[in-house]
Symmetry: C2
């Protein structure tokens, strides 16, 4: 008998709520029959959608929650009103209580992060949790973190991010020893802030068995896929992610308006339609939907609030993959090496 | 009789040296007959290129320089060996001595920045100079600064950047009162670093007559053209710029390979060729070539090292525009308002 994998779902999160969440679950369970769900939400709205999705209902346990976190609630406000009883809190709690291997919500990012930290707590040797994004590249996919969990990071935190991102790359991409680099700027003499330089020194000395440290990369290396894991602090990481999204949208708009301009272009578009569809698929943000919270005692995946069922399904599949490999334990183990190495160095230094 | 505008050119900068620089000057003077040049470089290599470009030779003064800053020289090393005598130094010096209205070099960015600072000095009320980039958007063009002159910036520097960027937007885009915003991240409660919040408060209170302050924008607002001027510190600004460049290149590559995949796509490409050319033009980095050093006692424009003559011409045209409007004095005046306002506030507070 094969193992099943249970994912906790917040049916109320996102711009479209249960329709997208349950619809995504239906797509995911169709592709991965080993999936099981625990679903949290308001019975009135969720029950009819579940009834219409028999394949999901059959493999799910549903729990009614009277409180829903709104997309525009402030995180602290959401925590006050939603702790213990909101669908978001209970989705995360299912992971803490080992009733699910990972949690997925398309709700309010700040609220989800705060609840996840409160409920799951940070892993013993990790200073701060981070949000990791999967970034499409010309070579395939890379992981970029932190894309906005916290602002500013010292050298120690950047090293933690490297360890966590590498574990995720092993888990999600199936790599043995992913390559890792720190994001930096190109002007020679002033190359980067002090924390980045210090993190680089530590990562080089550490020589972690779980990844190969490759030094610095610049912003344009992310899209090239120069390394598997790109590490930066949350402010610049968030700006990089959003800027790339904006640029992709901008070019898509240029392309659309250029193709509609003349009859010849419209005809050309018809002939090349399959090529454009391929391009659209390549640029499809739904394919890599999901920010992953790393560094907590449990896996939580944030799906885009505006995604559709296909996008939500891909967030569930990402959750499934990380639950299956027990990424939380991989990170806990890898950060232990980190500490052992640091202690070793300190001993050596004081000897 | 119409006024002429003199631009100082470093003929030795960039990956291809005099060919691109003089070729660019030829294109620019053809479009703007009011241009005059002072050109610095090694006579052996520059003289033959000048001889082949009669239209440039006729409006130029050439000065031989025995020393050339290399693209991979460290800035401090370049300054030591190139001060007083390199083509790069003398190009900047021509601006200091008022023999040219602006300087253009495609050489080593770090070296150029350091020489420009040493030679021209920072404007009296400006804490730190910045590099501004012109960014193509779906609405037209915006200015983003700082894209890498310095790492980290306090609130006062961010305010200076706003004032300088707005003056440049008035000069280059011909706007009366450009809109300005601070680049920030989207997670509510931890919205941005302290310096950004403080700068926002000052900008709002200041209510500068030279621009309209609009608050925060996120990374994806840059490409949308939400505001005319986007202000950030150099680390995140450099990462945003390079990430956008990387994303554009990545999508161009996707598109190229998609269009070559099937015969129908290739045929479609032929029909839609004019549309693709329009797209290429829209995405052409040469059209907005040039990082502008702001905050110094003189205008210096850094052209991309790898640009061609068309790209260099657009950097010269940008220099011409800013020299014509005397952007340096605009910035000096605008930063005086800044100071007067701050003094006013302090008086009000102590009264």
């Amino acid at each position: 008998m094969s193992q099943t994998i249970t994912i906790a779902l917040d049916a109320m999160g996102g711009d479209s709520g249960p329709e997208v969440v349950i619809g995504g679950a239906a797509i995911a369970v169709d592709r991965h029959p080993d999936l099981r769900f625990v679903i949290y939400g308001e019975e009135d709205v969720v029950a009819p959608v579940l009834a219409a999705n028999e394949s999901v209902r059959q493999v799910s346990e549903f729990h009614h929650c009277g409180v829903t976190v709104q997309m525009n609630d402030k995180p602290s406000q959401a925590l006050r009103k939603g702790r213990w009883k909101s669908s978001m809190w209970r989705t995360v709690e299912a992971v803490r209580d080992r009733r699910a291997g990972a949690a997925v919500s398309a709700g309010n990012t700040g609220a989800l992060m705060l609840m996840a930290k409160f409920c799951l707590k940070t892993l013993p040797r990790i200073e701060r949790s981070a949000i990791a994004a999967i970034w499409p590249t010309t070579r395939g996919e890379s992981i970029v973190l932190d894309v906005g969990a916290t602002i500013g990071a010292d050298a120690r935190m950047l090293v933690d991010f490297a360890v966590m991102g590498a574990a995720m790359a092993r888990s999600v991409f199936g790599l043995d020893r992913p390559t890792v680099a720190l994001l930096n700027v190109g002007v020679e003499e002033i190359k980067g802030i002090e924390e980045v330089r210090e993190a680089s020194r530590v990562l080089r000395e550490m020589d972690h068995p779980g990844f190969e440290y490759r030094g610095y990369v610049e912003g344009d290396d992310i899209g090239k896929g120069t390394v598997d894991v790109v590490v930066t602090e949350g402010f610049s990481g968030n700006i990089a992610l959003k800027t790339a999204e904006g640029t992709a949208r901008q070019i898509a708009e240029y392309l659309r308006s250029a193709m509609a301009r003349t009859w010849a272009a419209r005809l050309g578009y018809l002939f090349a339609r399959s090529a454009f569809e391929l391009l659209r698929e390549k640029m499809d943000p739904r394919k890599v939907n999901g920010g992953v919270f790393l560094g907590l005692n449990g896996m939580v995946i944030k799906s885009h609030g505006g995604t559709d069922a296909e996008g939500f399904a891909s967030a569930i599949e990402l959750a499934r993959e990380m639950a299956r490999n027990d990424l939380v334990h991989m990170i806990a183990d890898d950060s232990a090496f980190d500490d052992a190495a640091a202690t070793g160095r300190m001993r050596a230094a004081s000897a």
